[in-house]
Symmetry: C2
Subunit: 566 residues, 2 copies
């Protein structure tokens, strides 16, 4: 190495560099640069929204993937923090998905208040681990308080109940999880274990396993009943818990996509007839992922009570509606649930990833107690004794702070905006000729589909044969699949798509567009623009807008860039 | 309300306030205040370490808990963000646990480099959801790259292998989880499912459940073998997966706390004799939680290969040692594992909560595939198809950035410091008369106990009877329990405690002090101070330092403030 080729000493991994990165930026200049960048991160959502109205920068994924194929780990530092941040701002952010855009109305991930980023940074800086008191102290106590606040929001028990349990180390009103999936798994895990009380030399399913538990209780089958709108995490829970996902039995829904109570009651009756089948739980949905629909919770609660069945409510989406005095009655009956899932990173507007699960009985979580010698000793305050997860960040601190900053009324305003804007969107869709509203919104989710005029006329023809109807459905599925993809790839706005029966009597599930409105900046005008854009795309798809007879034309699908293979 | 009692308009939840909190601080002054506070958060670890040398502010937990009993959610905003942050800095932080202190050498949660807080904030600001491409785009591609880098660190397969899989949408080299617990559960979930190939009208355990799977395969019992040093998440996995936690069979360890290969081989042989028992997995530990010991992975791999058993390595703690050229040979054999758990929030020095699990076979995760209509469609790039968790934050972005900033050598320096400082600590302990080193460190974890002189003399008396020995053990357990608690409550430094057999032949598990050294600022001098403090505490416990005959004296235990009941 010559004198004109100096050693880049600041990019060598030695103790000097290490001390620098571990503790603080190397000098005042570097610190100022970082402050500038971090201001962009911490307050920049607004600017980002203004400069990146679109959802993503339009680069095909397959091409993007080619830049991420080097699997070497650099031996020495490759970049300084400031350069890493600069790269993220310039290279990653524009190619990420701008979930914060008010034009992004397709998924349950959306804009979050700017202060949430601050709170997440604070939780990271404290780096407490809620698995045990010895790595969290006051945060464990605070978490128990937040859990009690949320439990009260759901169950509204007498104050004496909360006074008895808020800081009680022997009981547990709920827990923070990584998200709705682990919350649902935890609820069904508890429900499964409650099915097998100790008997005949058998202690518990937790200890002895599912085969032994079934044998001890003379059972052939354990099942969970949930409407066909149930989240796929419930199926997953069935698989993980050894129940088998085919035993998570989907129950048909009524025209409003709520569980069909007559069918459910019939099923419970049928299953109860054989003594060798046990229903571990019935799951009610409060805000279905695809349609936002809410099951008839009071009737379901009654049925569960009558048959002694654990009643779980998956309110991962809808739970925070309880904070709105105006709409909380939509969730009536939830206080009868034995367990309730609510996500923090959905309508509590927290960053990824945080969920919660609550139990009516403060002793229910005793079903899943685990101790260890070095932590979580018996009788301790350690919050990791009754959780699926182990080490956990202080999500409770974020939720608690957010409630202080927003008030329940602040949350209610956002939730009410979402519901009312979605209802407005439904009216807009109905008013346009080329669209068909498929599910009317109860909360802030609706589905619809594009139906080009000619196809619409054919579909409503009085003499429509079944085969003709099926043919038209296939056309419409292709049209809507392409429409959604083309709009997504254009990057100006985003709705998602799923498959639903268009009419309750259908056997075929049709492709529908799905809209989730939770961003308070999604306005009337933006919704018009999104529909205008879809109509414009529809016009370019006029290959389909004819008396379609020729299947070959239909097969000329536009290749889907996102579905690339390497 | 009179004119002298103005309405606090900035603490009313209305649309004006909402827009303010959602998007940006209300004015330049507020923004500047926030910047000042956030600078404290983002760069303040160093100052915090200097001003709070102690581990926690000394307030008894029971007293602290009394301040966290109000379960009302405020209707209107209670505080502005700046005040919330001020409160966290002034009220919460000093009562949290200063895990960043170099005097905190008791748990696997420690100081993190300051830049990690920046990266966590960035991940929160982007708020991507890795469950699906439509909410993550480039982050999904980046995550696949990071997974391949880590897979290569573990398995070091040929470059052609990584070229084929790094961006392959049909295969999966591993996944990010919430932590080591969900990583271990995922690994055993896959191992469980691999035990039950489709047969005799039976499809899979995932679909049909554990009882049906056992029946179809003519099995009575499914077991997992792991040393008695195994993490309690493995027991929990047994419970969740329907295997039964008593079927997670603990195997005895040798004098070095490594799994006893002779006992393991014998057990495998015994279990294989009956055709109706199947071993789903053998788990090797690479960095036991209590002792840091590493199982004989090459021999375990050979045994698993011979019997066709899934070999899982729980390297939640030890995994990153692979980045140290000097010490990576300690983990030799890990490349033979079918699956490997590594935590990010442990020795990758990332904030809570992030873990990973890797699979040798890029098709292994097909065992746990779940699809849904609206996301995770078949053949898509969606990373949520084969995960236990649902929505997930971009932990991969943090790890990737950290590797760029530190280089593998940067990590290696910290890891080598931990190992070498712990070995130094062991020498210090051995050199002091009042301490007994219980487990010699292989990595950066050791255990020891205080043994007051007189008791030590009695313990080594040649004519020691068993009952006398048991009595002395009970005394030592009380002494060490009290010592650890008093030191913790004094708040200057922290070691943890657990229970281990002091000698391999013991039946009794004795209380030992446990030290985990991963903070690069934990120095020679600090270790001396910690031992000095312990000796000083020991002297105050001189009630025990006598020829103990009177059990009543022993029973005068200091009440444990942490174990309070409400």
């Amino acid at each position: 190495m010559t004198q004109t080729d100096p050693i880049p000493t600041d990019l060598i991994a030695d103790w000097h560099t290490l001390h620098r990165v571990f503790i603080r930026p190397e000098d005042e200049n570097s610190r100022q640069t970082l402050v500038k960048y971090m201001e962009q991160i911490l307050f920049g959502l607004h600017d980002f929204l203004n400069t990146h109205v679109g959802v993503t920068q339009a680069i095909p994924l397959a091409k993007l993937a080619q830049s991420y194929t080097d699997t070497t780990i650099n031996l020495h530092p490759e970049k300084k923090l400031a350069d890493v941040i600069k790269d993220i701002i310039n290279e990653i952010a524009p190619r990420a998905v701008n979930v914060a855009s008010p034009y992004f109305i397709g998924h349950m991930t959306s804009a979050i208040p700017f202060f949430m980023v601050h709170l997440k940074a604070i939780a990271a800086a404290l780096n407490q681990n809620l698995i045990k008191l010895e790595t969290s102290k006051v945060l464990s106590v605070l978490e128990k308080q937040v859990l009690a606040k949320m439990h009260r929001m759901i169950y509204d028990k007498p104050l004496t109940f909360y006074d008895a349990h808020v800081q009680n180390v022997d009981t547990c009103l709920g827990l923070f999880t990584n998200g709705g999936t682990t919350a649902n798994i935890t609820a069904l895990w508890v429900a499964r274990n409650l099915c097998f009380p100790c008997a005949k030399g058998f202690t518990s399913v937790e200890e002895n396993g599912m085969p032994a538990a079934m044998k001890a209780h003379d059972l052939d089958r354990l099942v969970v009943l949930v409407s066909e709108r149930g989240h796929f995490s419930l199926q997953k829970a069935g698989g993980i818990l050894g129940i088998g996902n085919k035993n998570i039995i989907p129950v048909e829904v009524d025209a409003d996509h709520r569980i069909d109570m007559i069918k459910l009651e019939q099923l419970v009756q049928d299953l109860s007839r054989t003594k060798r089948t046990k229903i571990a739980a019935i799951v009610g949905i409060a805000g279905a992922t695809e349609t936002g629909s809410i099951d008839p919770l009071p009737q379901m609660a009654l049925l569960c009570k009558k048959h002694g069945i654990h009643f779980h409510v998956d309110a991962a989406w809808g739970g925070p509606v309880l904070l709105s005095e105006k709409y909380r009655s939509l969730l009536a009956g939830i206080q009868e649930a034995d367990s309730v899932t609510i996500d923090c990173h959905k309508q509590f507007y927290m960053p990824m990833s945080a969920g919660m699960v609550y139990f009516k009985d403060p002793g229910a979580l005793d079903q899943i107690v685990y101790h260890a010698g070095y932590v979580n000793r018996k009788g301790s305050v350690d919050l990791g004794i009754k959780t699926l997860e182990g080490s956990r960040e202080a999500s409770s601190l974020i939720l608690d702070s957010a409630l202080k900053i927003m008030g329940s009324r602040g949350y209610a305003l956002m939730i009410e905006h979402g519901i009312e804007t979605t209802r407005l969107f439904a009216r807009k869709i109905t008013a346009r000729e080329k669209f068909q509203l498929v599910t009317d919104p109860v909360l802030n989710i609706l589905t619809y589909r594009a139906v080009p005029k000619k196809l619409g006329r054919q579909l409503t023809a009085p003499d429509l044969s079944l085969s003709r109807r099926q043919h038209l459905d296939a056309c419409l599925d292709d049209i809507n699949t392409n429409l959604q993809r083309i709009q997504r790839e254009a990057g100006k706005s985003f709705v998602s798509r799923t498959c639903l029966k268009i009419c309750p009597a259908d056997t075929h599930k049709g492709v529908v567009l799905r809209s989730v409105i939770m961003n308070p900046y999604t306005t009337d005008k933006i919704l018009d623009q999104i529909l205008d854009e879809q109509e414009a795309i529809l016009d370019t798809l006029d290959i389909f807008d004819q008396d379609v007879e020729d299947q070959e034309i239909l097969d000329q699908k536009v290749p889907d860039q996102e579905q690339y293979k390497s």
